[in-house]
């Protein structure tokens, strides 16, 4: 039942806001629903930690260490984002950039989006997984175009078409998996991951090859892997900031989660090598292309969305390497990245809102204007750049270690990517945070709290990973990394 | 035992202090003779010093303590140098307390102080002189060190005493490397002591002078101390040259018996060196200032060449 709550609460929320989403108190209600989801997630986590994996509803739902921590992460970031969006979207509403009708759409779609992601994470049925991913695309398409500006519409259009095509290809891949499996498992169970996992060594490799190609291209589009990444910067830059935060922090993770699940199947018991190699290739390409695209960005949210591409590439690369250490690192990287990146998006969104522009050349002196915001932006971008003692350094440290052990050839590329990314992003951040400004000191915004909270968590993870969490990651790594 | 150490030390030091003006006078006299002039006699510098000491010194009102202290520092440093170099005997406490590198350091100390004191008043000529002194210095110092290294490599130590013992001990051996070193050393000596062709000790033409420019503002006893120090510097340089290239006759015995002979021999060496210096100065014309770096560069290269030859021939 707990499990059901997780998906039901946001669904109810979506319906609820479909009616009341335009009211003043909707902002707070949004927090309430997200909090409910988060509590349900925590309760379920406790159960999993004690009772072990759960199968529910004719095995349609499935919770194991691999997805439970993603569920928690999703619920948590959804909660903090709702706290942030309360402050942020209020201002948007008051400044009249959004009318009540659109606020209604916003809230409804926000909850729907959370629902689809949680569904995608918790389902055991790869078909439902696909439907959920498609649903996530559809629900966010309208959010991206929320401002109805030409730019936002173009972004939404790109987003819809590219991700739609990607998702469609993923469906073809799913069908192929089913095709490979239903001879073995029979029509009903051939879509249930648990069963597929059981017989993965008996699935026909030829079909699984084609299937995995389609799946990685399809879901990879949503992860933002190069060269299918071009929807990502626009969608992040044009949508409202809370959406950018959840897109970067959560949706990418979920899509990557899907790929990892299928990698487990495709590489089979024998641990066929090429799916991993494929992921490593995509990962490296993403890291390099994203790093080299960073330097020329002028829009602050665009800048950080490219950095999301880079980090997702890093995680994909690590998953591709496989092995307990690399997979552990990749999971850790997913966690810290989504925390840090959402925090960075919060802050930069605020900065842009205050400055009235997302053009970085016209934003200066944040430190003078508002020290709290200046420090969060500075430390956040340093954290995203993998400066210790923030958690991303820990994960990158582990990834490099694994790479040096397993695939030393890749290390120069990784280092190059990291170095270039540092130069590009830090130059911009420094120009924004420091420098003189005419705008008078503003009181620190109420919602600096979520970003600070995230940064604090990431900071802690860099210095000390709690035992429970470590065990949990190791467990998940065992599942995900053959 | 220790007493005779102290005696030797004291005697040599006093000898250096006393002989410095005479050496200057002797060189001037020789130059006069070579120039078909009668000259003022060897004692002329002594008279000058006495006169200067009597005069009341005039010090610029902007002068700082550094300006006043410098002459004493220069003088004392030169006395110390005179005490360190084994000119007549090797068994001396101070000679054992410092080696060739320390000696070079001592010269650097005097140079730096002289230059700083010259810059103190902020007159155009003095600061120009300071610049030129430092220019000569930073080129001459490494050359000097390189010269000292050649015998140091031969004897395996930078201690002048060890060098003297080693070179004198092996009888009259010709080290080709030492030839290079000697040539380089001569050039360094000329440059460091403001002799021709680098600087003309007689001149007072402001634009060309180096050493004199430093002393423009000094008078009375301060000028006297500086001039005396300069004289001792020249003597010490000759003394080092003797220790390195003509170490024979420097007593290494314990007793004091050998001292008079050693002193006499050293005096002869000094006189010869002074005369030679006079000849060189008469023959050479002054270089343009821009040529000075090339001159010292040559000295430096010669010294390095000496080192390499030392390695190549092992001798």
């Amino acid at each position: 039942m707990m499990l059901l709550l997780i998906v039901i609460i946001p669904l109810l929320g979506a319906g609820f806001f479909g009616v009341f989403g335009h009211r003043q108190w909707a902002f707070s209600a949004n927090i309430a629903f997200s909090a409910g989801t988060f509590l349900a997630a925590c309760a379920m986590t406790v159960r999993v930690l004690h009772g072990g994996p759960i199968l529910a509803f004719h095995q349609q739902f499935f919770i194991d260490p691999l997805n439970v921590f993603l569920v928690d992460l999703t619920a948590f970031v959804a909660l903090t984002t709702s706290v942030f969006s309360r402050a942020y979207m209020r201002i948007e509403g008051h400044t009249g950039r959004l009318n009540p009708a659109r606020l209604r759409v916003y809230h409804a779609m926000y909850q729907l989006f959370i629902f689809t992601m949680l569904l995608a994470l918790t389902t055991n049925n790869i078909g439902v997984l696909w439907i959920a991913m498609e649903g996530a695309t559809l629900s966010t398409a309208l959010l991206v175009s929320l401002y109805r500006t030409p730019a936002s519409l173009e972004a939404a259009w790109k987003y819809f078409i590219l991700c739609g095509v990607g998702i469609a290809l993923a469906l073809f891949g799913t069908i192929m998996v089913y095709f490979a499996a239903h001879g073995v498992l029979g029509a009903y169970r051939a879509l249930l991951w648990t069963h597929l996992d059981g017989v993965k060594d008996r699935l026909d490799p030829a079909i699984m090859t084609i299937a995995f190609v389609f799946l990685i291209v399809g879901y990879g589009t949503k992860v933002g892997l190069v060269p299918m990444h071009n929807w990502l910067p626009d969608a992040h830059a044009e949508g409202p900031t809370p959406i950018s935060a959840v897109l970067s922090g959560l949706l990418l993770n979920v899509a990557l989660y899907a790929i990892v699940r299928f990698k487990v199947l495709a590489s089979g018991d024998t641990g066929a090598h090429w799916p991993g190699a494929l992921m490593m290739g995509f990962g490296l390409a993403s890291v390099l292309v994203a790093a080299f695209s960073l330097a020329r960005q002028r829009d602050v949210k665009r800048l950080f969305s490219y950095s999301s591409i880079e980090h997702m590439g890093l995680a994909t690369f690590a998953f591709g390497m496989g092995g307990p250490l690399a997979t552990f690192a990749a999971l850790l990287h997913m966690t810290v990245h989504s925390l840090t990146k959402s925090s960075v998006f919060f802050t930069s969104g605020h900065v842009a809102q205050k400055a009235g522009t997302q053009d970085m050349d016209r934003i200066t002196g944040v430190m003078d204007r508002n020290p709290a915001m200046g420090w969060t932006l500075m430390l956040g971008s340093l954290a995203i750049l993998g400066i210790p003692p923030f958690g991303i350094f820990a994960s990158e440290f582990l990834i490099l270690t694994a790479a040096l052990r397993q695939d030393p050839w890749s290390v120069p590329f990784l280092i190059l990517g990291l170095g270039v990314a540092f130069a590009a992003i830090f130059r911009k951040t420094q120009a924004m945070v420091f420098g003189a400004t005419e705008i008078p000191r503003a009181p620190s915004p109420p919602s600096v709290f979520p970003s600070v909270l995230h940064l604090a968590l990431v900071f802690g993870l860099g210095l000390y990973i709690p035992h429970a969490l470590a065990v949990w990651y190791t467990e998940a790594a065992r599942l995900a990394g053959p | 035992m220790t007493l005779d150490l102290v005696v030797r030390q004291a005697l040599q030091t006093l000898f250096v202090i006393a002989a410095a003006p005479l050496l200057t006078g002797w060189i001037r006299q020789c130059r006069a003779w070579l120039g078909n002039r009668t000259g003022a006699g060897i004692l002329q510098p002594v008279r000058e010093l006495r006169k200067l000491f009597r005069k009341e010194p005039v010090v610029a009102s902007e002068a700082s303590a550094l300006f006043v202290a410098t002459p004493y520092i220069l003088f004392a440093a030169m006395v110390l140098a005179g005490a360190i170099v084994p000119m007549v005997a090797t068994r001396m406490p101070l000679a054992a307390a410092a080696d060739a590198v320390a000696l070079a350091g001592l010269f650097a100390l005097t140079r730096v102080f002289a230059a700083l004191a010259a810059m103190d008043l902020g007159t155009a000529f003095a600061s120009m002189g300071a610049r030129r002194t430092m220019l000569v210095g930073f080129l001459a110092e490494p050359a000097l060190l390189m010269v000292l290294f050649t015998p140091a490599l031969i004897s395996g130590s930078t201690s002048l005493i060890v060098i003297v013992r080693h070179l004198a001990g092996h009888g009259f051996v010709l080290y080709p490397s030492m030839a290079f070193a000697a040539a380089a050393y001569l050039m360094v000596t000329l440059a460091e002591n403001a002799r021709l062709p680098v600087d003309n000790p007689e001149t007072h033409l402001e634009l060309t002078m180096i050493h004199e420019a430093l002393n423009l503002e000094y008078s009375g006893r301060y000028l006297a101390l500086i001039e005396w120090g300069a004289g001792m510097k020249l003597l010490v340089y000759i003394g080092i040259g003797v220790a390195l290239f003509l170490p024979w006759g420097i007593t290494q015995s314990h007793g004091l018996a050998a001292l008079p002979g050693a002193f006499a021999l050293f005096a002869v060496k000094l006189a010869a060196a002074g005369a030679g210096l006079a000849v060189i100065e008469t023959l050479l014309a002054k270089l343009r200032l821009f040529r000075v770096p090339e001159f010292l560069g040559t000295a430096f290269l010669l010294a390095v060449l000496g080192l390499l030859v030392r390695y190549l021939l092992g001798s």
Partner: protein, 672 residues
């Protein structure tokens, strides 16, 4: 020394906690101004604690400890051995003086950012101490980057001017590139460890990894790049002359005095204690790079007109000398001449200590001058010895020390360095044995240049006439600043007069790193505290006692014979009546001979006055050739790649769909 075994480590940890507390306490300064005067003195106390702990550790056995934090399977290891101890002493004493100066500095400039400086400065101190005691790569990297960041924030204290930001960015960028290199170096070592241990990052495990010569070479090169970037070795020195001038002076002192030494520490730690026995080419590389750096730094510092740039380049020079010593030590070690290696290492470490003292001294003094006059350009200073006599005295000592003039400490390390070079004849390879004397020659040349530079520096700033009218209003600096200067000056003199005791401090380190047994080539001690290398003695105490005696006797005699005192009068100046400050030699003028001699090494921009200029000023700016040879082309290359990467962005969705289709087709075509 029979002290409780854990005491030194305990002291260091105590100092760390104290610093952290002070750091966060200083956040309260705006609210509770009362606490402000206590902040920096407390920091100084912490610094003294670390210095004391380091001194204890030098005598005692190494102490280890494992903290419960860190990555799973990789807790934090800390360890305090002789090497850490020595550097703790170095940084402790220096930072103590700097803290004292800051105590006054904060009172002087009523910084709005007093709180910020207090916070970051103490975090910086803590991270530096942590680097010295870190015993695993992860903790080391954390401390390392913490140091980089906090120092960066201190450098950009005055972040409203663009130049400061640019310098800060360059600093942190090079810093970070270096950090990546170090990270990979550690990673390679760890990847060579036993397969069972995925995270073999404790220094013990890294040492046990014992990679083959090939891999060891790679690690060595990476370490040299990483730590060289920190220390400012060629060609990664470019951040120094940019960052030092823009930083507040005490921070410049910290950068030059301590942080550069952290780079040296890292190099020693990795190359000597983590890697297996060195190959000869390592030593040659370090030696050559070091000498090149030294010469380059000396030349460029000779032609600077900005006080702090001049000092920054002279730091480059000194680091080069230190590196040369280390290279020599490696070379000796590679051929098994541990005793000589110990000698070279002692010379290098001695010079590190000296440089920490006198360079911090000079930067602090520069800070006082800067505050008193608001002027950094040598061409606008002069005659300050009359306005700020005590500062001038302290600076004189610093100047003589860095000029390598006896009886001060700079000369001692130079002496040891030259002795080490002379011992190179012991090398079995003739071509090496022949090449090394050239090294000695270069060292001597560099020392001479250093003297030239410092005479220029001191003479133009403190002597002569004030070149600007407003200098007349300059006043002596505060008590705290003078206390800091005095402290460092005393240490310079002490290290110059009592080398035996300093060497006694360093010897355990030399033994630890070279494995030379009880004896080293340099004998010390004796009643006169002399140091002897191969019969060549240097006994400063005796020598300078004698010098003082002679000087005194001279004075007394002269006074006794001619009691009349001097007469004060206007400057004679060859009888030329008018004398203005503009007749003096300028900084450019003083540098002219160097520019003239080494013109091919330098890139000079001359700004000549126009013919009808009422106040003609000749100015010549000398630029770093490496910018134009190396960095600008590199930057241009990256720009080009950025533009290429931009071509991937296209306006049409169709193109993106085409990417997808193409990817699909290619993958299907090549899938197994």
């Amino acid at each position: 020394m029979n002290v409780p075994i854990g005491l030194p480590l305990g002291l260091v940890l105590g100092a760390l906690t104290l610093w952290i507390l002070v750091a966060f306490a200083s956040l309260l300064i705006p609210r509770v101004p009362r606490i402000a005067p206590a902040i920096f003195p407390l920091g100084a106390v912490g610094a003294l604690l670390t210095a004391f702990a380091g001194a204890l550790a030098l005598g005692g056995p190494p102490i280890q400890m494992v903290l419960p934090w860190g990555l799973p399977g990789l807790p934090f290891h800390i360890r305090l051995d002789a090497l850490s101890g020595f550097f703790l002493v170095l940084s402790g004493i220096t930072t103590c003086a700097i803290s004292l100066d800051l105590a006054g500095y904060r009172q002087r400039e009523h910084y709005p950012a007093a709180a910020r400086i207090g916070l970051q400065y103490h975090i910086l101190l803590a991270s530096v101490a942590l680097i010295f005691i870190a015993d695993d790569a992860y903790l080391f990297m954390i401390a390392w980057e913490a140091m980089a960041l906090s120092s960066y924030f201190l450098v950009v204290t005055d972040h409203r001017t663009a130049a400061v930001r640019e310098a800060g960015f360059l600093y942190l960028l090079i810093e970070h590139v270096g950090a990546l290199a170090i990270l990979v170096a550690f990673g390679i070592l760890a990847s060579r460890a036993a397969p069972g241990t995925p995270l073999a990052y404790s220094f013990g495990a890294l040492h046990a990894a014992a990679p083959g010569p090939m891999m060891a070479g790679v690690v060595f090169v990476l370490a040299l790049i990483g730590f060289g970037a920190k220390a400012g070795l060629l060609p990664l020195h470019v951040w120094l002359p940019e960052a030092h001038p823009v930083a507040p002076s005490p921070i410049s002192a910290l950068l030059s005095g301590v942080l550069l030494k952290v780079g040296i520490y890292g190099l020693l730690r990795v190359v000597f204690t983590l890697l297996p026995a060195p190959a000869p080419w390592w030593g040659v590389t370090v030696l050559v790079v070091g000498l090149a750096t030294a010469l380059f730094g000396a030349l460029l510092s000779a032609v600077q007109s900005d006080m702090k740039r001049l000092l920054a380049y002279s730091s480059v020079e000194n680091i080069g000398l230190i590196a040369a010593g280390i290279g020599l030590a490696l070379l000796f070690l590679a051929y098994g001449l541990t005793v000589l290696a110990a000698l070279a290492l002692i010379a290098a470490l001695y010079h590190s200590l000296n440089h920490a003292f006198f360079k911090s001294l000079l930067f602090l003094g520069t800070g006082s001058v800067l505050h008193a006059t608001g002027e950094r350009n040598l061409g606008r200073l002069g005659g300050l010895i009359h306005r700020m006599p005590q500062t001038a005295l302290g600076m004189l000592i610093g100047t003589l020390a860095i000029a390598g003039v006896p009886p001060l400490n700079g000369f001692v390390s130079e002496w040891l360095m030259l002795q080490a070079f002379l011992k190179a004849t012991a090398l079995p390879r003739p071509y090496l044995a022949m090449a090394i004397p050239l090294g000695a020659a270069l060292t001597a040349l560099v020392a001479g240049l250093a003297a030239y530079v410092m005479v220029k520096f001191y003479g133009i700033v403190f002597l002569g006439r004030p070149r600007e009218a407003r200098l007349a209003s300059a006043t002596e600096s505060g008590v705290w600043e003078r206390a800091a200067l005095g402290m460092l000056a005393v240490f310079c003199v002490a290290a110059g007069l009592l080398p035996a005791y300093i060497i006694a401090l360093i010897r355990p380190v030399a033994h630890l790193l070279t494995g030379a047994g009880g004896r080293t080539a340099v004998a010390t001690g004796g009643p006169a505290a002399d140091i002897v290398v191969a019969h060549a003695a240097y006994v400063p105490s005796v020598l300078w006692a004698a010098l003082a005696a002679v000087g005194l006797v001279g004075v007394l005699l002269v006074r006794a014979r001619h009691p009349r005192s001097m007469r004060r009068a206007p400057v004679w100046n060859c009888g030329y009546p008018v004398l203005t400050a503009r007749m003096q030699d300028t900084a450019e003028g003083f540098g002219q001979p160097i520019r003239h001699i080494f013109t091919s090494f330098l890139r000079i921009r001359r700004l000549r006055p126009g013919p009808d200029d009422p106040e003609p000023r000749y100015e010549s700016v000398v630029e770093d050739r490496l910018w134009y040879v190396l960095y600008l082309p590199l930057a241009r290359g990256f720009q080009a790649v950025f533009d290429k990467a931009r071509l991937l962005r296209h306006r049409r969705i169709a193109i993106y769909l085409l990417y997808t289709l193409a990817t699909l087709v290619i993958l299907l075509a090549f899938a197994p």
